[in-house]
Amino acid sequence: MIELKDVRKVFPARGRADEVVAVDGVSLSVDRGEFAGVVGPSGSGKSTLVRLVNLLERPTSGSVTVDGQVLTELPDEQVRQARRSIGMVFQHFELLDSRTAAGNVEHPLELAGVGRAERRRRAGELLDLVGLADRADARPAQLSGGQQQRVAIARALAVRPDVLLCDEATSALDQASTTGVLELLRRVRDELGLTVLLITHEMSVVKAVCDSAVLLDRGRVVDGGRLADVLTRPGSPLGEALLPAPVADAGAGHDGALLRVTVTDRTPETRVLQTLIGELGLAVEIAGGSVETVAGGRYGRLLLRVTGGGAGLDDAVHRLQADGVLVERVAATAEVSR
């Protein structure tokens, strides 16, 4: 649905400022109906990247295709038309203070030449969808941040886009509002069959809503894939960022080897422990770890201290690997790193 091919965006030098390569050869593909994330530290080029999708920023080179249309080859007028099928929500909502909530939702409909009665009806319907039917006449200033973002989402959906771009849509919100807005995004994706591309610097946001994600650093894609794959792929920087390795307690005086095990729905910790303890007769102590819900699945990284014989341990690693478990032997240092 969204296809970026080797996209570069260079902001030319201006005055004393040097030229900036904001996006440096990014290729990215998002399937229809997918909830995709772009995550990275600030300054990594995320916000520029999302603006390349609807050509708010024109790429210096490379191509942008949305719904089969190569936007980078279209004249301005057609790009304008194409933007109607690409909704966008922003970090700071960007609602118009001169309009009510309903007026803001009507704005894109107005621009698209929809008649007054139909606009009214549609705005009511959308505010209902985002749970703000009773605040139709409120001004943005009278709404909380979370409510404003809901209005902004209603506005972005007004002209029935196929794609929704979210630029740090929850970064200005508190935790409760963030959860609400993310649930809403996920729900509208499911109900309306949208394709969503979400930009964020927060791993927790990616974990809460995304099916897939790419990790951006200094304008380049460092890692990416479906979260289910990324989390179980050895050495994946994105997987590591999403679900950091537990820190081993230095535990001087402990013997035994440390195993780092990634548990999933398919290979839950009960099964891992059953293999190690029940079948191999090893003694297992949990030295650290956490298990959480990511993209609707259950994932965890556990650090197990295993005692009970040298040959037995190698055997254990093989047995787990044969079972499809991501497992690594770790040196018993204070910090576990790859």
């Binding site: 609807n54 708010l56 304008r80 038309q81 194409a82 933007r83 109607r84 690409i86 909704g87 966008m88 922003f90 700071h92 960007e94 609602l95 118009l96 203070d97 001169s98 309009r99 704005h107 894109p108 107005e110 621009l111 698209a112 001004r139 902004a152 506005r155 002209v159 771009l165």
Partner: protein, 219 residues
């Protein structure tokens, strides 16, 4: 003084002249100054439709208009006035230099107001597939409305002050009245009465303008 019943009607006439000059000039100033301000904003570097050369040229013209002392402008534009009104004397003739003096002033105020509209709102509207003129019409002008109203108020008050100089070209009005009756005839009471009248008009305008701007901001 017993001659006040002779003076009152003339003071009233002068008041009407002032209101006429300022009223018409303000109307034309808004009609020309707002579009000029919009043009200054959108053609600026980083604006909606950057045209650096046009922007610089417009900026120069606007600055020229603002740098010229009004009394000089009054004389300089006399040929233009004759071309438009047919004469360079009288209240109607004074409207031309008043307008020419006020348009650059208002244009700068409009530019400042429009610049203060958050760039993100413009971007959000462009992301909806808006044309640039739609952005001006549905975002820049409505969002800046309270500030624009304040700018127009300041401009009208400045026009009243300019109009006092219109007497120099026989434009009449309160300023002219104060000079001819008050100053030249050593009638401090007449000067004072005129000043009070001007103050009342300016106060009333400012009050109305503030109220209007505030009602828009709350709306």
């Amino acid at each position: 003084m017993s001659d006040w019943n002779r003076i009152w009607p003339q003071l009233l006439d002068a008041t009407w002249e002032t209101l006429y000059m300022v009223g018409v000039a303000a109307l034309v100033t808004v009609l020309l100054g707002v579009p000029l301000g919009v043009l200054l904003t959108v053609t600026a570097p980083g604006g909606l439709a950057p045209r650096p050369l046009l922007n610089r040229a417009l900026g120069l013209v606007v600055n020229l208009g603002r740098a010229l002392p009004f009394i000089i402008l009054l004389v300089l534009v006399a040929p233009v006035t004759r071309g438009i009104v047919g004469t360079t004397i009288g209240s109607t003739a004074a409207i031309v230099p008043l307008t020419i003096g006020a348009v650059p002033f208002l244009a700068r105020l409009v530019e400042t107001s429009l610049r203060e509209v958050a760039a993100g709102k413009v971007e959000a509207t462009l992301s909806m597939g808006a044309r640039r003129r739609d952005v001006v019409r549905t975002v820049l002008l409505p969002e800046a409305r309270p500030s624009l109203v304040a700018g127009v108020t300041v401009t009208v008050v400045a026009l009243i002050s300019y109009s006092a100089m219109a007497g120099a070209v026989g434009g009449g009005g309160l300023g002219d009245f104060a000079i001819r009756f008050g100053y030249q005839q050593f009638r401090t009471d007449i000067t004072l009465a005129t000043v009070v009248l001007l103050l009342v008009i300016v106060q009333a305008l400012q009050w109305a303008g503030d109220r209007w701007a505030r009602s828009l901001a709350h709306a």
